[in-house]
């Protein structure tokens, strides 16, 4: 419920009760979010009431159904034209239902669905005391290595809370890119961040690292959101409102009825500029842009790999969605102020991510840095400030999220005694042991590297093209150079897998259940389809490329 709505309530309170008009909520148009949040609540109830033995199945069922239903709802809305013609702002100006939000919500939901599949995987870890276990701690509360933990394992506990947490996160992410006022933005940010913090702490193996990841992520995340909030405060101070529309008007100077207070603050550009910078920092933190990226490698490494995959994919989508909306809807008026800054950020992000990745020795950290580099590429598209820019970013996000989930799903398969064998040296000669898995992973790596006929190339071309048309040729050149650098370490992994001799004590490749298989298969399929015949999806993205104001 938006501040504006409350405000109207308050101001009319003096009048007779009959005058109170209930706030108008378009439930239909918010249905995706509502479904997911509702399902999350159901999940909580399940934890409370369903006997432990059947919780897992109940949770998986609920989550899958909910996400599928939400996705169906999104499709329905899009089909109904809410993405294009009927796009408008729902819930008293709190939520925008338009092309970008629907497109991104769809992407997030699919990512969430695949995430659930990887969460629910129970074939990889060796069965403990005769009951299958997933990659989540038996009992997060129990101290690693303590008797209580052993007891929990013996009793076959599992942290099925992971599923509702994921649903909450998804719910927040659905709101984040479609938030149409700063308050909703902030709330959504927290709503999807907090569950992620928790999920990071839930790893079954290597719990110390998992907890450390959670702490780092939490502290830094909270730190960043504090900055965001202060930024919001400043913008509010500047414009006297948190609704995007109003702020935009104030920024453009096209605002009607300027009261003296507003006139006073409007004069003070420092509020606007500093506020923008701080909010931007919060979002850049979420998309893992240099120099706000340093949490990424540690968290990606420590978190349970399924969580990493989900987080890496969905968070980026949601955060970039929000960033786009902020820059395109709220701040187009001050394009000339933020574009150069974004240029700088994009450049250091592309180069930094690519360069540091070269010397990584852990596959998850490697992918983390590659995700940083990719954030840089996407930023190049954001900077274009054109319709093509928006649609190219949307396309890139869709392509990227599937590749990422697939890649991390493959990482979960390569295991040795200590759980997942994430150290690169252990991947040597994987191509000899299990060519299929190696080949699949190679496909993902090539997509990351942006080799033609993969979705990665189509996406990269789209954003660079948009950037070039936006006049950012130098950015394109730097992007090209850094993707050349990036290519080097992707190739390194491929060399390792195919051309180096397998180690005798090397890892084994677990045969996953259909769940993970589906996740990987979908990842590969999307990667190839978007690489070979991207036209349909490009059309989709370009139709969805218009923000409602």
């Amino acid at each position: 419920m938006s501040a504006a709505a409350v405000h109207s309530l308050w101001t009319t309170a003096a009048d007779p009760i009959s005058k109170i008009q209930a706030p108008k909520i378009e439930y239909g148009q918010l249905s995706p979010t509502l479904i997911v949040i509702g399902a999350a609540l159901v999940g909580v109830l399940i934890e409370a009431f369903v006997p432990r033995a059947s919780r897992y199945y109940a949770q998986v069922f609920v989550s899958v159904v909910a996400l599928a239903a939400a996705f169906a709802a999104v499709v329905a809305l899009a089909a109904d034209g809410y993405g294009t013609t009927k796009a408008h702002i729902a819930a008293m100006g709190a939520i925008a239902v338009d092309g970008p939000s629907l497109f991104l919500q769809g992407t997030i939901l699919l990512a969430g669905l695949l995430g659930v599949f990887t969460f629910a995987e129970r074939r990889l870890d060796p069965a403990a005391h005769g009951n299958r276990v997933d990659s989540f701690a038996a009992q997060a509360a129990s101290v690693p290595g303590s008797d209580s933990e052993k007891a929990a394992v013996k009793a076959g506990f599992t942290t099925t809370e992971a599923f509702p947490l994921l649903l909450f996160a998804v719910g927040g992410m659905l709101v984040f890119p479609s938030a149409n006022d700063l308050l909703t933005l902030f709330v959504a940010l927290e709503v999807f961040s907090l569950p992620l913090y928790l999920l990071c702490a839930l790893a079954r193996r290597k719990r110390l690292m998992s907890q450390e990841a959670a702490v780092k992520y939490f502290l830094l995340g909270a730190f960043a959101s504090a900055f965001t909030l202060f930024g919001i405060a400043l913008l509010y101070g500047y414009s006297g409102s948190v609704s995007y529309a109003t702020i935009a008007q104030v920024v453009d100077g096209t605002v009607t009825n300027v009261d003296p207070a507003l006139a006073n603050t409007m004069g003070n550009d420092a509020l606007l500029l500093v506020g923008t910078a701080l909010i931007g920092m919060g979002l850049l933190f979420k998309v893992a842009a240099v120099p706000f990226h340093m949490w990424t490698p540690d968290v990606y490494q420590g978190a349970p790999t399924p969580v990493t995959g989900f987080m890496a994919a969905a968070t980026k989508v949601a955060a970039f969605g929000a960033l786009l909306r902020l820059l395109y809807v709220v701040l187009p008026g001050m394009r000339w102020d933020w574009r150069p800054v974004m240029w700088a950020v994009a450049i250091v992000t592309m180069l930094g991510g690519a360069i540091v990745a070269i010397t990584q020795t852990d596959i998850k950290r490697l992918l983390a840095y590659s995700s940083i580099a990719h954030a840089g590429f996407i930023l190049a598209g954001v900077i274009a400030t054109s319709k093509d820019g928006v649609s190219s970013v949307l396309f890139y996000l869709a392509a990227y999220s599937f590749v990422t989930i697939g890649a991390f799903a493959v990482v979960t398969l390569v295991r040795d005694a200590g759980g997942e064998a994430t150290h690169l040296s252990k991947w040597a000669g994987l191509g000899r042991r299990s060519p299929l898995v190696a080949a699949v992973f190679a496909v993902f790596l090539l997509a990351f590297a942006g080799i033609p006929l993969t979705s990665g190339f189509a996406g990269k071309f789209a954003v660079f093209k948009a950037a070039a048309e936006g006049g950012a040729i130098p950015l394109v050149v730097i992007g090209v150079i850094s993707s050349a650098i990036a290519a080097f370490f992707y190739i390194r992994v491929i060399v390792l897998m195919f051309f180096s001799e397998p180690r005798p004590e090397g890892p084994t490749v677990a045969v996953p259940s259909p769940l993970t298989m589906t996740a990987i298969a979908v990842g590969v399929a999307v990667t190839v389809v978007l690489g070979v015949a991207p036209q349909y999806f490009l059309d989709l993205a370009s139709q969805a490329g218009v923000f409602v104001r």
Partner: protein, 648 residues
Amino acid sequence: MENLIALLIAAPLLGAAVLLCGGRRLDAVGHWIGTVLAAASFVLGVVLFTGMLGKAADHRTLTQHLFSWIPVGGFQADVTFRLDQLSMTFVLLITGVGSLIHLYSVGYMEHDERRRRFFGYLNLFLAAMLLLVLADNYLLLYVGWEGVGLASYLLIGFWQHKPSAATAAKKAFLVNRVGDMGLSIAIMLMFTTFGTFAFGPVFADVDRTGQGKLTAIGLMLLLAACGKSAQVPLQSWLGDAMEGPTPVSALIHAATMVTAGVYLIVRSGAIFNAAPDAQLAVTVVGAVTLLFGAIVGCAKDDIKKALAGSTMSQIGYMVLAAGLGPIGYVFAIMHLVTHGFFKAGLFLGAGSVMHGMNDEVDMRRYGGLRKYMPVTFVTFGLGYLAIIGFPGLSGFFSKDKIIEAAFAKGGTEGWILGGAALLGAAITAYYMTRVMLMTFFGEERWRNAPTPSPAEPSVEPAAETRGEHAEPHPHESPGVMTIPMIVLAFGSVFAGGLFSVGDRFLRWLEPVTGHSEGHSPVSALTVTASTLVLLVVGAGIAYAQYGRRPVPAVAPRGSLLTRAARRDLLQDDFNHVVLVRGGEHLTRSLVYVDHTLVDGVVNGTAASVGGLSGRLRRLQNGYARSYAVSMFGGAAVLVALTLLMRAV
């Protein structure tokens, strides 16, 4: 009639193809196939010759267009043959001498298990050489030109198991390539100048262009000629080429291929006539070479290398003549033909001697062979007389004419060139007499011959490699070998007279080459007289040195000049130091550069990026607070930048 021209080439080409692809099953008959096809080509040549005689002097040129070879824009190269008196002369010489030498080789190569291939190569050579002289444009000529080079390469290196042979073959090809460069540049120049490189059009347009271009073309052609005809400065390969079997030396490195340069110059007469500077260069090269070769010939103890030197010198004469222009063309060709006879004869004789002497080539281990191989002695002797220009024999007529022509050039040039030619004649008499005496007269040094000192460069290594120092039993060669020698001997006796009586040859060739009588400052008689005097002098000195006194079995140290001459006047040492060593250093340093510099730059960049990565990586120190610092700093920078952007 003209449709037969292609067959001239086709016959030996077919032979080559059959023999080289045929495989072992042809070993038994291979050599006869080769010989018969060579002979067939000769017969064909004779038929065409008679047909040509039947025509009026200026309607004797036949051309045959086979097909368009390389048509690209203005660049039109056709496969067209041209048979006129000049090429006819060569056809007969090549196929005639060629057939004889095929016959000779049947005997000479009898014990070589790779004889079939040898004949294949010989046929290949004939085909290429015929293509060379029959081509109607320079590009096609170029094909033959390199074709003979290839054949020569294969035949010099025929005994490939001998490293010396392989090296010699490679050297020959490489030096020739340098010459070929000249030819190809000449062709390019023609194309840019005339838009074509076919004989007819080029010669027709000569007067349309400036002298500079023509001089350039001429010099390039001269370079080519130097390579092929072993003229200074590209002469170094001919001596080593003697590594090849003797019939090869006779056919390729005496009678035919090495004279291709002369053919080229005479054929391009039109160009040279219009470029006096180029002509002068030609004459100089010729004069220098004829002395150079002669001097080298004097010092060699290896009979074949001595003959090689003489070949060089004789071709020097021809080139000199060719350089004189219309005065000399005819005599150049005439000397070329007679030389073809007697030099081939001499080489076959030498081969026959080696055949009888376990392939010994060091003349110091010959001696007194005349009674063991009479036929060889007689034929070799006749050849000897012919080459030194004994009155009445072929060499006398042809060489005498050249010397006269040289004087006829007039001016100081005339005197210098004529003098050189005369001097050459004297030296020729000297070294040939020396060869004659050392081989066939004196006491029999081959009995209990000592092993030669390895320091002696003129001794060919074959002697050691085969390790045959057992006492040889000299004997006359079989009929297949002697018959060709006899035939050639006849040639070397009568050819000259035949040609000169009533200037037959002159009138035969004139329509193609043109001719003009120069006005010689000295009368023909004086020239002849002085030639004869010098001849006697030269022979006399030789007799004094080698006929009267016994010849030491191991060469004495000799004067500086002698030693230099033994080492081919140090040309090889020069090449070695300048070209070979220099080249090796260059390539080695380049390999280094490629690895360290060109590759190093790239690897260096990669390494530096890696290093940077390593350093940046340390920022990721695992402390949440330092991450927070970077975020805070980042935020500060972000704010600052945003404010700055508004400020500017």
